[in-house]
Symmetry: C2
């Protein structure tokens, strides 16, 4: 049994395909009640489901938004930030009849991706990892495709057309956390960052630095291979052994902070009396570490929703109303500061 199309339904209902099309698309004016009922009955009876490809070809719309996540790992969804963002995106798009085409691409293969080589979607969202240079190149590549582009978590590049940016207020969140830490009158603090410099981490680091330096806190920056919790622990441990215990350890994300907490407890230190610890981007899985970490709640889900609504508005109106959006990051008061 062939899949029914407009012609099948039209023949079955004894009308033209134009009439069926109108009924299916909910145009109620200019159609007699009798015809309407007859067509609807045929649609039901035959189990007709409009083929988007046909409509898409006619309207040159696809009702699909492409989300490209450029990440060297095939586990590109493993990060809770990404997961939450994608959930928010997909949720909002679904509610408006749009699909989300999810595509993880390795940094070297962006050029070969079918998302880039062919016209598959109505607009793009991207979230890029990698060096500043490779991010710039890839952002430019997507921007040059002649379709609207929404960039998550990266710094705006003035020269790009039809491109919009959605970020969380990493600097604001870090400032607020820094002020919390200052209440403990620390003399020294260690800021632990991943060795891959994401723009968000850069912003957090700058903000911590500004606020704490102003109060004469002695600051050390420690880099670590963030993908490996043993490596994180080793970096922090080495640094303490060489430079002594700081009054605060600032993790630029929750994963780092939790490793630090674990390490400190294993050395018999009390938190926050001996050392205060803060994280960043509080997400559910890390709450299973069993400590109530003071951190900053990432609005990743909301960023996804906002991104989706901006893109849909852009598609409707033909332009982005506002080119940059920054969502607030709220401190989650735990017991580690």
């Amino acid at each position: 049994m062939e899949k029914p199309n407009l012609h099948t339904v039209a023949a079955h209902a004894g009308v033209s395909i134009a009439t069926v099309s109108k009924v299916v698309n909910g145009m109620r004016y200019g159609i007699s009640p009798a015809t309407l009922a007859r067509v609807q009955a045929s649609v039901r009876e035959l189990g007709y489901r409009p083929n988007r490809v046909g409509r898409g070809l006619r309207t040159l719309q696809r009702f699909i938004i492409g989300m490209a996540i450029v990440d060297p790992s095939p586990m590109f969804l493993a990060d809770p930030f990404t997961t939450n963002l994608v959930a928010g995106l997909s949720n909002h798009l679904s509610e408006h009849g749009f699909g989300l085409l999810l595509h993880g691409i390795k940094p070297k293969q962006v050029n070969e991706s079918f998302l880039v080589r062919e016209t598959v979607v109505d607009a793009y969202c991207i979230m890029l990892s990698g060096s500043a240079v490779s991010r710039q190149v890839n952002t430019q590549l997507f921007a040059s495709l002649g379709q609207p582009l929404l960039v998550f978590q990266d710094r705006p590049r003035a020269e790009l057309d039809d491109t919009c940016y959605v970020n969380q207020d990493d600097a604001g969140g870090a400032e607020e956390l820094a002020r919390h830490i200052l209440r403990r009158k620390p003399k020294s603090a260690m800021i632990v960052i991943p060795d891959i410099f994401w723009p968000a981490i850069e912003l957090r680091l700058e903000a911590f630095w500004q606020v704490l330096k102003q109060e004469q806190v002695s600051l050390k920056i420690v880099r670590c291979d963030e993908s490996n919790s043993d490596a994180i622990a080793r970096s922090i441990s080495d640094h303490i052994d060489r430079n002594g215990l700081p009054d605060a350890i600032i993790g630029t994300n929750d994963k780092i902070a939790i490793v630090a907490l674990r390490l400190l407890s294993s050395r018999g230190l009390r938190i926050p009396d001996d050392v205060a610890v803060s994280g960043f981007n509080a997400f559910e899985p890390y709450s299973y570490a069993g400590v109530s970490l003071t951190s900053a709640r990432s609005p990743a889900f909301e960023m996804g929703e906002l991104g989706a609504s901006l893109l849909l508005e852009r598609l409707r109106t033909g332009r982005f109303e506002q080119l940059e959006h920054t969502l607030p990051v709220a401190v989650v008061q735990g017991t580690t500061i």
Copy 2:
């Protein structure tokens, strides 16, 4: 400047659209080297990107697989199992030029989803939560759409056409864990399950029950609201207070096991000497709990990859070769048994 299409390129290169089409699709026979070069130059110069909608309409293929995750929560991606599965799916599909259309649907709204109402994708994958009845209804709905269907983590229903099942060997993993636990010669064990009965949980429970009962272990089942870690702790705690401490606590997932571990430590108990603890579905985020939990590693990523390859094969050959696939689950030896 309009988006270039086949006609633009053909005019630019001074050939017919048929020739351009052949070049773009990599048909190398029956095209003179000179024509080939000229067309390729035009494609590059104009930045032509084939529109999939055109091809799709002609070939009646869309090169998109739809993944519907039926979950009451908008955070449908929050679970690491889902995340890993989707990553595997998307990864494999991307490598073969297919896109993954991700769609979270609330159980009541499956009927209204555009994925169901319109023909948007070439095949479906589904992963369903909810009661057995609602799962059955929704599976039937997707199967009735006249497109290939792949079901993750659910029991096969014999009556469905063109449907394939991919599961992990929950029973096997549970059996192996149960045998590990038996080495400690437990007299009693508590099995903690979520109050929502997923089919996977049911299988694990049955397997634990079989193996442990055979060795005369006294078994208690405790249900808990798994979405809330305080609720999990309370359920376990209450049960211990009323029935005494078991020799083993079997979490039917890692989250439950970690809450149990935390609770036991806070009561000053030693693991595994006083109580052995096991989890299920070992995923990265839970490794930050700071204990090396004995668990079973879920092949979620591999399930996604397998599902993708089965679907692509089905699309190529016209049928599913094998209707059911079960991937092994390996025990991860930690220090809690």
